[in-house]
């Protein structure tokens, strides 16, 4: 295992399932997934189909005006599901804004995943209830939070691990580089999970880095793994290696999951303006769900019952998402002023009182005019 962790440059590209669904042996990774049974593979497949369906439904909701914005994860299902399903409940995730499948795997309700994109709140769930912070929009900022959390876990003497998600573009940010420095310095139990989806909005990864993203980490004193991000089994193995290192005092690990953003950056983006011809088709052939289907089919696990169950689960989740989104009550007007501080703040309390009186004035006027017509 050490030969793939020791920072060999360029990093080895790790893969267990080929794009055409063939399981390749790899004695470095195999021990880490030997407990993954056929039933587990089916569950991973169903997770990926369901999160792709959530993604499609949310995109539709945005097109129908029910969401202000949506950042699709289309194409990144294996990277997110494979890593998230390797975590323990007491681990803590610090995501960017595209980790919708990670949120699903952590147990966040579908409507709560879209709450922030509907504009009803700045975050959709209680981080402590799911061991996952809410989306962070400032690029790379969350990597420092994960590192600090991990420093705390180390001080507390527990073997919980912080896992932070970010993209190839984020690796150019100062915060990510500072997080790598701090994590290495304190040997913090943190996993840096970079989804290299090839694009930072319109900028290809070559604008960010002249070497593979994974090759940067050893320079910080952090071992790295470069894994096929569209191979859910390899992603799970890599994540388990990193988690095990963190839990046993080995410090931080950097994972580059090589994947592809098959959709736009967000629903406000138009990738046809910058994506080279043929690139989408090239990556579609490496689709993470397609290859798992081929693998399951080859193993005789893709039965009509599994297909039907998967379809039903995706349909049901999409229905729950749609209903939960559309039925979401608008927030109360005065909640705009809530939770800025934990305790009373004179200036803000004055503004709240004034605005409450202002709003009450409209209600008074409204009831007055109604009374006049009557």
């Amino acid at each position: 295992m050490l030969d793939i962790l020791a920072g060999d440059i360029p990093a080895t590209f790790l893969q267990l399932v080929t794009p055409d669904g063939v399981r390749q042996p790899d004695d470095r990774l195999d021990p880490w997934v030997e407990d993954v049974t056929g039933a587990h593979l089916v569950a991973l497949y169903q997770d990926m189909v369901v999160v792709r369906r959530i993604d499609a439904e949310a995109t539709a909701l945005q097109r129908q005006g029910e969401l202000g914005l949506w950042p699709p994860l289309l194409g990144q299902e294996a990277a997110q599901v494979g890593s998230a399903r390797a975590l323990r409940p007491d681990d803590f995730v610090f995501p960017s804004y595209r980790e919708n499948a990670v949120a699903y795997c952590r147990g966040v309700a579908p409507a709560d995943i879209v709450r922030v994109w509907r504009g009803n709140a700045q975050s959709g769930w209680d981080p402590y209830a799911f061991g996952m912070a809410t989306p962070n929009i400032i690029i790379g900022a969350q990597t420092l939070h994960a590192t600090g959390w991990a420093m705390g876990a180390l001080a507390d003497g527990v073997d919980s691990v912080a896992v932070t998600y970010f993209g190839d573009g984020a690796t150019s940010q100062g915060d990510v580089n500072e997080a790598l420095v701090f994590a290495a310095s304190f040997q913090a139990p943190v996993v840096f999970f970079c989804q290299n989806n090839q694009w930072a909005i319109s900028e290809p990864v070559g604008v960010q880095a002249r070497v593979s993203i994974a090759d940067r980490a050893p320079g910080f004193g952090i071992p790295s793994l470069r894994v096929d991000g569209n191979d859910v089994l390899a992603v799970m193995a890599a994540t388990r290696i990193a988690l095990d290192r963190a839990r046993t005092g080995g410090g931080p690990t950097f994972i580059e999951a090589v994947t592809y953003r098959m959709g736009p950056h967000t629903t406000a983006d138009d990738p046809t303006r910058y994506r080279p011809a043929g690139q989408l088709e090239e990556w579609a052939a490496k689709d993470p769900i397609l290859r798992l289907r081929l693998l399951l089919d080859g193993l005789g696990l893709l039965t009509p019952e599994v297909e039907e169950q998967t379809r039903a689960r995706a349909d049901a989740t999409a229905a729950v998402l749609r209903a939960g989104c559309i039925d979401m009550p608008d927030p109360e007007p005065l909640s705009v002023l809530a939770h800025v501080y934990t305790t009373p703040h004179a200036a803000l309390d004055g503004q709240r009182a004034n605005y409450a009186a202002y709003l009450a004035g409209f209600e008074q006027t409204s009831s007055d005019s109604t009374g006049g017509k009557a």
């Binding site: 700045q122 975050s123 420092l144 994960a146 600090g148 915060d175 997080a179 800025v340 004179a346």
Partner: protein, 356 residues
């Protein structure tokens, strides 16, 4: 003849005092004792760490060295490297890892080595620390204290004499305090650490070595201003190092039978307007002073609020005595930039209608 002809060295803009002042720090503080302002903060930090094992210190050179101003002296030896953390040299990470520690239930106290070094950490402060409680609808608290030595008058190189407080009073979700004396330094650092909201704690670096009596009592709430010198003719608002200058100005003005009420704001967000308004209703005249540049400074906001609320009590337009709208100047020119006793008295003259 106006009071501005009074020319004398401003004692509050003197360099650091000799280090021969008493530096003993009884632990814990059991009764009133004499401590320098720096030692008073040290005593407050130590007491907070004794009281709560979740209080941890993060910063550059705060461990073995005890901080470049020695504010954290001896704390590493007492509490160990898990609680007194010498960090790599990156301010954004000092703040950002404090956020993660706060997620885990810690109460981090970050030291920013000099005021001018806070800007690499600015994004984490305004985009994360200040708004995570709001963002998460109250689910996640950020009880982070960010200590910042601030202000000029020590003949320093660039980026070592800044007054960046207005950036933070403008940022919702933060509480901001500035201390002026050893007692407040002790009381307010303990209150800041105990606060479940993030607190920017500004330390007047040129007053670090000035001694004063310190009692372990926490005294008035952190959010309250303090009337330093009662007066009847003009209200003079100051904070941080300028409180001493303002107090000297009040003494000088009393020679000409002008009674200045000096108020130490202590809390810059929120401002204790009840105390400020009560004073202005009594005096009818207001002078606000700070070292920070004038435009967009805290003085302008205070003048606006007082004008809104006390318009009929005002006998004259409020006056600001502030730094100029310039980048911080070289050491040989800083005395022209910093409000001193004479510029404060000039402001008082204008508030009294003696000058325009």
């Amino acid at each position: 003849m106006t009071m501005t002809t009074i020319v004398r060295p401003s004692p509050s803009v003197a360099g650091p005092a000799p280090t021969s002042v008493p530096l003993a720090t009884p632990v814990p503080l059991t009764g009133t004792t004499t401590l320098t302002l720096a030692k008073a903060i040290n005593a407050g930090l130590r007491q907070a760490m004794l009281d709560d094992p979740k209080v941890v210190l993060l910063g550059e050179d705060i461990g073995t060295l005890g901080g470049v101003f020695r504010v954290t002296s001896d704390l590493l030896a007492e509490f160990g490297k898990r609680r007194v953390v010498d960090t790599p040299l990156a301010e954004s990470a000092i703040i950002g890892t404090a956020v993660g520690l706060a997620y885990r239930g810690y109460r981090p106290v970050c030291e920013i080595q000099f005021d001018g070094f806070i800007f690499p950490g600015f994004d984490q402060i305004v985009s994360q620390v200040a708004r995570i409680h709001y963002r998460t609808q109250g689910a996640v608290r950020m009880p982070i204290t960010i200590r910042v030595p601030f202000g000029g008058g020590i003949g320093a190189a660039e980026h070592h004499s800044e007054s960046p407080e207005a950036y933070f009073t403008h940022t919702s979700g933060l509480r901001v305090v500035a201390v002026s004396n050893p007692q407040d330094a002790y009381s307010l650092i303990r209150q800041a650490i105990a606060s479940d909201d993030p607190v920017l704690y500004f330390e007047p670096k040129r007053r670090y070595h000035v001694p004063g009596a310190v009692s372990p009592e926490l005294g008035a709430p952190m959010e309250s201003a303090r009337v330093v010198t009662p007066g009847t003719d003009v209200t003079l608002l100051a904070y941080g190092a300028l409180v001493a200058t303002a107090t000297d100005a009040a003494i000088a003005a009393s020679d000409e039978s002008v009674s200045i009420e000096v108020i130490d704001l202590r809390s810059l967000s929120p401002v204790d307007y009840a105390t400020v308004e009560a004073s202005v209703r009594k005096t009818g005249r207001l002078v606000v002073t700070h070292e920070a540049a004038r435009t967009g400074g805290l003085g302008g906001e205070i003048v606006a609020v007082v004008t809104e609320r006390c318009f009929e009590y005002l006998e004259a337009a409020p006056v600001r005595v502030t730094g100029f709208d310039i980048p911080y100047p070289p050491a040989k020119l800083e005395s022209h930039h910093l409000p001193d006793l004479d510029r404060m008295l000039d402001g008082v003259d204008r508030a009294l209608g003696r000058r325009r």
